[in-house]
Symmetry: C2
Subunit: 338 residues, 2 copies
DNA sequence: CCTTCAAATGTTAGCGCTAACAGTACCGCG
DNA sequence: CGCGGTACTGTTAGCGCTAACATTTGAAGG
């Protein structure tokens, strides 16, 4: 008996369990995977051995033998942006419930090459399927060049993405928030948009623009930020300096915070002199000064549906190409009565 | 020749490459992994074949053959809290640079059993090592019961965690921000703490308390929130109703936002009548009303060091048990001159 | 009582890779 | 000229699992 407390003998395999239960390794496999018929009594004996030995199937061996993997890859943007991060958790949540693992490969800057690299990275790890959280136009282009040997779906991509896409209906949310603002009697609504190379920016901008056009309201030139509070602040200062807006729809809550800050510094009251709305409903939004009207997206639901879509795809199905989740308009003080 | 454009013949393996290069599969393996001597000309031939066939090593097979995996697992809390999410990206970033994959297993509620389950989930996936992002006391307890057959390190855990831990020095940050507040001439500093079962709350509270005691300042009873803006708001209302604080140190920026909101509603000027500081330096903090004094934590650095620590551990080293990263005090208007 | 077939179990052959050892060629040196 | 190396390459045997087929068992049907 070894004197050191190593007890380092390998994890038990099918063989050990089989020996203890007095059956062949194949029977154990059948019990563990619940495939093929096994007598109840035998099953019990095997299960007991599994329990006692603390047997744990080796996923590498299984993947090698079957050629498929129960791990799926997620390409995510390396950012703390509320949406993408929430989506990631949503997917992981759904995947875990179904016994799938999730490995991530993040992209620090949304360039085409880096998306391709991230996908490649995951393929090397032999994942069974890939989800690309791709709110960026570059992602769509990159995906176009990826060999189709791994099932793939995208979240938040546009039409250009050559795989099934699931996303929150940005267009609808933007349209509704703009109409809400118009319904309060403003002649028009200004817009602080997100970066031009983000699909979500484009969709939100389109929703805003079409809502205005439908009402016959003039369409002021949109200002553009980069999602950050700082860029929202800059946009807010420009708005204050150059014009005198009655209502502003900001493409996300973080920038809206910056806009509110700029207005506060300029002594402009919200909603007294100008009404402001955002997009995302980050947890902080209800505590901005003033609390922010915004559009809520159900990312958990997006994650769940994304996972289902991918599994369907992995099993050979051919789900439709575009799936939309409806957002909710959340009205708060920033568009409240004066 | 098949008429359908499937072209679905399996990915090439070592064997195919070997055949094309006219060598044995073993030589290919040596070239690919750069292990063992290979004549320059042979190597070139192999590399050419690799290139042409688009050969990609199969990680499942490698894992099976070697018994070690170049994927590491991260147990993360399923939340959008700024710190944990940033840490996750930091780790993934460092891991990817070194050719490691990262799989995540999230924990929806920080209970002991769920941490254990998440770790188990990762072990089943045969990861080479595990990082537990464990700012919660329950995590420490859970970790204590996990068999030590997988190298493991923790981020942000306390002394109770039985594995190497790396974290930002919460105590130091809290102490410094409290001293900053005291140095402005306030008799004492109130504190809105985080949940009692989070280690970071406890450390921040301790830093605050000891800073006060060292100055001989009275120690008011801390209020307690749950990190959310709403709980900060509630705490702020209580502060307004029950007492008349000159200075408040709030345990994170989100709650600080709520506190600011409560003060704003009560017509209390910041920093005019009360000074407020937070912790984390979320991107929004500079655009709060007023911009928030806070403590910045370098999560990317934490991630990098965590990864290094884990690798060292996986290679059999026995790194020291506690590693601290120093935070930075960021002074903004919320503790500015009156 | 023997056939017949399904249920239950076992046997064999890889999945693609690496570890370990076994050559083979060619060099320098006694 | 032959010995011991060193540089290079090849052969074999698994890693732990599942797919596919082979075999045994048992109970029903004739």
């Amino acid at each position: 008996m070894p004197i050191d407390g190593s007890s380092a003998k390998r994890q038990p395999g099918l063989a050990e369990v089989a020996a203890m239960a007095g059956v062949s390794h194949m029977t154990v496999s059948r019990v563990v995977n619940d495939t093929g018929p096994v007598r109840a009594e035998t099953r019990a004996r095997v299960l007991a051995a599994v329990e006692q030995l603390g047997y744990r199937p080796n996923s590498a061996a299984r993947t090698l033998a079957t050629g498929r993997s129960s791990v799926l890859g997620v390409v995510a943007l390396e950012s703390n942006l509320y949406g993408p991060a929430s989506t990631l958790y949503g997917i992981e949540h759904a995947a875990r419930e179904e016994g799938y693992g999730v490995t991530i490969s993040s992209v620090s800057r949304p360039r085409r090459s880096s998306f391709a690299e991230a996908v490649d990275n995951l393929r090397r790890q032999a994942v069974g399927g890939i989800v690309v959280i791709a709110p960026h136009v570059a992602a769509g282009e990159a995906l176009r060049q990826v060999p189709a040997d791994v099932p793939m779906v995208a979240v938040g991509g546009g039409e250009s993405v050559p795989v099934p896409v699931i996303s929150v209906d940005q267009y609808d949310g933007a349209r509704r928030v703009t109409e809400h603002l118009l319904s309060l009697g403003h002649e028009t609504v200004w817009h602080v948009a997100g970066p031009e190379d983000w699909l979500e920016s484009l969709e939100r901008e389109r929703g805003w623009r079409e809502a205005l056009e439908r009402r016959g309201a003039p369409v002021p030139p949109p200002l553009r930020g980069d999602w950050s509070p700082r860029s929202g602040y800059d946009a807010g200062r420009r708005l204050v300096a150059e014009t005198r807006p009655d209502a502003v729809f900001v493409a996300n809550d973080q920038m809206a915070l910056g806009v509110l800050r700029a207005f506060a510094e300029a002594g402009i009251a919200v909603p007294g002199q100008v009404r402001v709305a955002g997009f995302d409903d980050v947890p902080e939004a209800a505590y901005f000064s003033p609390p922010l009207t915004t559009v809520r997206q159900d990312f958990i639901e997006v994650g769940r549906r994304t996972f289902r879509l991918l599994v369907e795809r992995m099993e050979g199905g051919d789900p439709g190409i575009r799936h939309l989740v409806a957002p909710d308009l959340i009205v708060r003080d920033s568009t409240g009565p004066r």
